[in-house]
Amino acid sequence: MIKTRLRTRLRRGRLGIVTMLAVAVLCTAGLAAQGAGTQPRPGVPVEKPAIDPSQEIVATGCLVKEGDNYELRNSAVLIRPWVAPGLKPDAVGTPAPSPSKTVFRLMHKEGLDAHVGHKVEIAGVIQPQTANVPPSPDTIVRSGTGPGTATAPAAAGAQGAGGAQGGAEQPRFVPRLNNPELDNKPLKMVSTSCP
């Protein structure tokens, strides 16, 4: 009986606005109950993760100007792994820069002009990166690129991103890379010479 009435009223489009509001409230309550414990709720502060390793890196390298843009080249990179409270801070050793040929594109240009050609130390957070889409103007085509190195020839590039192992037949793929972009803080001068 109730079903028939409901069906009739539905067919005629005569369910009142009050009824609809009541329905909406009930539905919201039902959905909230279903989501309990799984979703952050509006107005409730999200708890800070107990484990939150720093995203900041420190790069030391040569500051170069390319057109209107600045790059830090031959960058030695220092990261600080998160170490659990209770462990010695040097549980995995004392943090130290790791030499590399990394080229960082620098987001902020203020104060950089005076240090072009200098060896500088810059802290910052690397911006989220992407691969083949959309094609970036900064994407570099490297025929003969190895496994994440600046100089490895194609014949040695069997690992990592899948560099070709060479051979007579040319594969239908093109190795590419994107130089990382650094949300840089003010720099520290290291020396006026840059090897």
């Binding site: 484990i51 792994p81 790791s98 590399s100 496994p147 069997a158 190795p175």
Partner: protein, 486 residues
């Protein structure tokens, strides 16, 4: 038009009301229950089952879509729980029990557990007395499976909403470990922040080179057809009719298996080639008193595969470790028994294609402890057989109904001891027919490839050896038979 919209809105709301009322009424009004059924409660009977078999995934930050940590969180899902456990779809588990092996990672339910959950649901899913509840399990925070001692940030990756052909090529990024002294790790976990878009993240450890380019994504732009399949055929083979694969491309696809797994000699560094995959947990060497050494200054090679979801997102993976101040007695080594090689080609509409088997020979005493079959959506089954030097065969794992959606570690409760000369032989079948509901196109040849609609045969496994054993001797290089993939 307005009237139509009003009517449509009313109907939609009424439908929601019907669903909601069903749920609410059912939740608040216990159904008539027998005395036996009424005695089954959440806290006394169901919660212990959930703690043991379900909560490792059903908690915030894990792969499961809802939490089962409390009555309030679990209650709305009671009916679904009954349906899934009776069908044995949950918890997921695929090892064939007939070979006599048991696995510590087995979370499947006993028939008694299933009956308990069904009875509880039929009785109206009563909460019972909270005093009956078992002590809450203290799970690692922030969705970790291990409680890491050390965490290294991986590179943040922007996953576009809708890339061309819906493909984001595999990308490799090298980051420093930050470990400046030799470090024994006893477990490793790779934890993406956005599970929805993360197909896999695999890591391996490599010696530092001063010409490395850190945080620099490397990938290969590939020519793909309308279905996103890599174009790599050359004219058809005269013997089989199957289009052949350009050998250079074949090498590129998988130089050492999935995304560049380390050669057997390097398989011990940090534990070897370790992956986050949906359904996969941390690599935990601690139950075996084992560990893996990461030498000072080594770098992490991170192979990432993301799948677009229609919404742009950023993944911020982390790599967590537990560490030991002293060398463990055992060393953990992970590698794989071959992979899909040059001979791998699945004909159209073939329901039971047998791939060229993978085989690897041991060169030292070891204990087989973990297996992790990996195939893509056409994968049907995979069997790991240990062939002892005396010819005796021992099935260590058979997964007769492989499900791509669950990439699981099968950790043996009782490791299989192997002596030098023992072989690990792996066979896998693929279903490229219409009977495979996940098959995107049964009418084409299928070759090895990176995307899920291409194929892989990657029988990963882990062994432990004495710490004194030279890790380069554990597997005999050149003894891998994988049809050319190694």
């Amino acid at each position: 038009m307005t009237r139509r919209l009003y009517l449509a809105g009313t109907v939609a709301l009424a439908a929601l009301l019907a669903a909601s009322m069903g749920s609410v009424t059912w939740a608040q009004t216990p159904s008539p229950a027998s005395a036996v059924a009424a005695a089954v409660t959440f806290h006394k009977d169901v919660e212990p089952i959930l703690q043991k078999n379900c909560q490792s995934c059903h908690r915030p930050g894990q792969i499961a879509p809802m939490s089962l940590l409390s009555y309030q969180a679990a209650r709305p899902w009671a009916r679904a729980m009954k349906t899934k456990v009776i069908a044995r779809e949950m918890p997921p588990w695929f090892a064939d029990p007939q070979h006599g092996k048991t696995y510590s990672t087995d979370r499947s339910l006993t028939q008694a557990d299933i009956d308990t959950i069904a009875t509880w649901v039929d009785a109206g899913a009563p909460e019972g007395d909270p005093k009956d509840a078992p002590p809450a399990v203290v799970w690692p925070k922030d969705g970790w499976s291990i409680q890491p001692d050390v965490v290294v940030r991986g590179p943040s990756f922007k996953v576009p909403a809708r890339p061309p052909s819906n493909v984001i090529e595999w990308t490799t990024i090298i980051v420093p470990t930050g470990f400046t002294k030799d470090t024994w790790v006893t477990s490793v976990e790779i934890k993406p922040s956005d599970l929805q878009v993360t197909h896999h993240i695999c890591i391996s450890f490599q010696p530092h080179s001063e010409d490395i380019l850190y945080y620099t994504p490397f990938w290969n732009d590939k020519t793909r057809d309308d279905e996103g399949v890599e174009i790599k055929q050359t004219p058809a083979s005269a013997s089989t009719g199957a289009p052949r694969i350009n050998p250079a491309q074949q090498r590129e696809r998988s130089p050492n298996g999935v995304g560049g797994a380390p050669a057997p000699g390097n398989a011990a560094v940090g534990g070897g080639f370790l992956c986050y995959l949906p359904g996969n947990q941390a690599f935990d060497y601690r139950p075996f008193g084992a560990g893996a050494l990461i030498p000072a200054g080594y770098d992490i090679s991170i192979a990432q595969h993301y799948t677009p979801s229609g919404k742009e997102s950023v993944d911020l993976p982390q790599i967590g470790f537990t560490v030991s101040n002293t060398p463990p007695k055992k060393r953990w080594v992970t590698t794989q028994a071959g992979g899909a090689g040059n001979g791998f080609a699945i004909p159209p509409n073939e329901p039971n294609y047998l791939a060229p088997p993978g085989e690897l020979e041991f060169g030292a005493n070891a204990e087989l402890v973990m297996m992790m079959p990996h195939m893509h959506v056409r994968g049907r089954d995979m069997t790991y057989t240990v062939v002892h030097p005396d010819g005796r065969k021992e099935v260590a794992l058979s997964v007769p109904k492989y499900d791509f959606n669950w990439q699981m570690q099968y950790v043996l409760s009782n490791p299989v001891k192997v002596a030098p000369g023992t072989k690990l032989h792996v066979e896998a079948h693929y279903n490229n027919s219409t009977s495979n509901k996940y098959n995107p196109n049964p009418n084409r040849w299928v070759y090895p490839g990176n995307m899920t609609w291409e194929e892989m045969m990657s029988p990963f496994f882990g062994v432990i050896v004495d710490t004194e054993t030279d890790p380069t001797t554990v597997f005999r290089r050149g003894a891998v038979n994988n049809g050319g993939g190694e």
